[in-house]
């Protein structure tokens, strides 16, 4: 297929990104872009954003040297602890940023989509903090497998709207949230939870999440007097990864790796690995790698982790794949679950199923050179996955 060339030049990462949306949304995206650009250039906004990250979210999150894991794998493993953020994942960095923008724009109603529920919980939390109305779209299947997060959102005062269309997972929650936004755009801001979607979302979410990489780099250099050799992160839509990479993209000596959800294996077709096994196309407002059939219909996905169970990926990842700056690789459900278990046993850290994907390559013989200094971004904690873990690991 012939790739689209840079049509508007707006919000592009190479050929990827852009803004493919119904006309009704364009003025709102223009407004959001202006508001973000103004805010991001303002010291006052940064001060407010950073104050909330520090006093409410609990940043900076620590680096933890994983000594037993290092001994077992023959690597030097250090973990960036995004699981220790308030609400248990990196998602809240972006939720704080976007809700601040919504407040500046005078939009009092917030909508969000969520897969694993972490973004929904983060958004509901910030809405409670700011006194904003919050409605969260969540696929029916995800509501069932991440029930704890549904309860948390309700307790935080948000309305959770189960989505029964399509595959009843994250993709369909995004569709419904987009439809809501098209209908209620005058008073509503849509807090997209990942670095995907139409411009300005991919760049804006990357900026809000870049605190992860900037902190991690400074902390690593301060502690070890050097940079890590390898940086690992899981990639669904890719917001934790893009924020983490943001600290290291300018350091060519740091090898960056993104781990997608291999589901039942790439050959089974039941996975959620568009960068590893998909092709470029347009979904949810941008041009990026996508799981699609030969007719351009979006394919159903599978992953044990609801947060990675998505057929698309942020546009900047597509660009970083094509340029070769980041290597992308898929890890099957079973290897992710094994890593989930080993991290708990060896380090006393229960990761989210999503984040466990980023650890699986550490156990893969001969993939990473022995003795490598590896920094892994642990994007979220695994409390939400306990029920699934009990069944899958027969605990």
């Amino acid at each position: 297929m012939k790739a689209m060339s840079v049509a508007s030049g707006k919000g592009r990462f190479g050929a990827y990104g852009g803004r493919y949306v119904p006309e009704t949304l364009v003025p709102a995206l223009d407004q959001l872009e202006r508001e973000f650009d103004a805010a991001w250039a303002s010291a006052e906004f940064h001060a407010e954003f950073e104050a909330i990250l520090s006093e409410f979210v609990g940043r900076p999150t620590p680096l933890t040297e994983a000594r037993r894991l290092s001994a077992e794998t023959g690597l030097h493993v250090v973990i960036k602890r995004e699981d220790l953020n308030h609400t248990g994942a990196h998602k809240i960095n972006n939720a704080v940023g976007q809700c601040l923008l919504a407040r500046r724009m005078g939009k009092r109603r917030i909508i969000a989509e969520t897969g694993a529920g972490q973004h929904g919980v983060a958004t509901a939390t910030v809405c409670a903090l700011f006194g904003l109305r919050c409605e969260v779209y969540m696929g029916e299947e995800d509501c069932a497998r991440q029930q704890l997060n549904v309860f948390r959102m309700k307790l935080l005062g948000a309305k959770v709207i189960p989505v029964s269309s399509g595959t009843r997972t994250l993709k369909d929650a995004l569709n419904e949230a987009m439809r809501d936004w098209v209908t209620n755009v005058a008073d509503t801001h849509y807090v997209i939870g990942t670095a995907a979607g139409p411009h300005p979302y991919p760049a804006m979410v990357r900026e809000f999440q870049s605190v992860i990489g900037k902190e991690a780099r400074a902390q690593y250099v301060q502690r070890y007097g050097r940079l890590p050799e390898i940086g690992l992160a899981c990639v669904g839509g890719g917001s934790n990864a893009i924020g983490f990479y943001a600290g290291f993209l300018a350091d060519p000596e740091v090898r960056l790796i993104g781990i997608e959800a291999g589901g039942h294996g790439l050959s089974s077709g039941q996975h959620a690995a568009p960068l590893t096994a998909g092709s470029p196309g347009v979904l949810h407002g941008s041009y990026s790698y996508l799981m699609q059939d030969e007719h351009g219909q979006v394919l159903p996905t599978h992953s044990v982790s609801a947060g990675l169970d998505y057929p698309g990926v942020g546009a900047e990842h597509s660009y970083l794949k094509d340029t070769g700056r980041v290597e992308y690789r898929a890890v099957d459900d079973s290897d992710a679950l094994a890593a989930f278990r080993r991290l708990a046993e060896l380090e006393g850290i229960i990761p989210a199923f999503e984040s466990a994907h980023a650890f699986a390559p550490l156990f893969e013989a001969a993939y990473l050179p022995l003795g490598s200094r590896v920094l892994v971004n642990l994007s979220g904690r695994g409390d939400k996955d306990m029920e699934s873990a009990v069944q899958l690991l027969e605990l």
Partner: protein
């Protein structure tokens, strides 16, 4: 000045009779694709002036529940863009109402912009509406369409600023599609008053033909819209109707009767 396309010819003919256009929308493949030629014939007999034929897509974010469900049923039947174009080519009525394809960008992109445009034109289609393609992102698609002789119809929304209306009008050929309300497709109780405002805003800036869609299902709504606009699009109501009462053509007579009433409302 380029030669007048079939859509423009049709609107010119209507204007000379002091009539507005009835533009029904059907989703190809619901009911089955084999039913499509018979449905198009029935709509033509009933007085449809232009017919929009929807190409099913897995993630129709601009559509409400009715058309979403129809998309899903069509995809479950295995309908592909190629099959839709082949069916239209076999139908091939060069004298009937012009056909406008309506869909989303990804299936077009997947086939290839030039390939899709050429095949659509070869199938007798006169233009396209791509719900998630804005004028700013459409440069290559407009080029491909121009080469193939297809009109490109863009949407104007109540939220569009005047500057955007200029861009939409400049990029549109055939007609401009004015969205009646901020929202997704689907029948509504009443056509909202802001429709007229939007059409007036467009008319004040351009001499383009303007059709209004979203939420229009009854003759009185068609009549109301046609006071300001050049035509009315009736979509979800018809999609619902075909799903429940086409019955392999058994519902043809009733459909023609009802669509005739909609058409009558365009004659003010």
């Amino acid at each position: 000045m380029e030669t007048m396309g079939r859509i423009a010819e049709r609107f010119a003919a209507l204007a000379s009779r002091n009539e507005k256009a009835l533009v029904p929308f059907v989703l190809a493949g619901d009911p089955s694709l084999e039913d499509l030629p018979g449905i198009l014939d029935a709509l033509a007999v009933a007085g449809a002036d232009v017919i929009e034929v929807g190409i099913p897509f897995s993630d129709p974010i601009a559509d409400g529940p009715t058309i979403q469900a129809a998309d899903q049923r069509a995809l479950d039947r295995g309908v592909t863009p190629t099959m839709v174009l082949d069916t239209l080519a076999r139908w091939g009525r060069s004298e009937g109402p012009p056909i406008v394809l309506m869909g989303y960008l990804n299936p077009i992109l997947r086939m290839g912009l030039d390939e899709f445009a050429a095949r659509a034109a070869a199938s007798g289609c006169s233009g396209t509406i791509v719900s998630d393609l804005t004028p700013e992102e459409s440069g290559e698609w407009r080029e491909a369409s121009r080469r193939a002789g297809l009109d490109t119809i863009f949407l104007a929304a109540p939220t569009s600023t005047d500057e955007r209306l200029d861009i939409v009008c400049q990029s549109s050929t055939g007609f401009v599609y004015a969205i009646s309300r901020t929202g997704v497709t689907g029948a509504a109780q009443a056509a909202p008053p802001e429709v007229t405002d939007l059409v007036r805003r467009i008319k004040a800036r351009t001499d383009r033909v303007v059709c209004v869609g979203f939420g229009i299902s009854r003759p009185e709504q068609v009549a109301m819209v046609c006071q300001a606009a050049d035509g009315a699009v009736v979509g979800s109501w018809l999609v619902d109707r075909l799903a429940s009462d086409w019955n392999g053509g058994a519902g043809r007579g009733r459909l023609i009767d009802d669509v005739r009433k909609l058409k009558a409302a365009t004659r003010g």
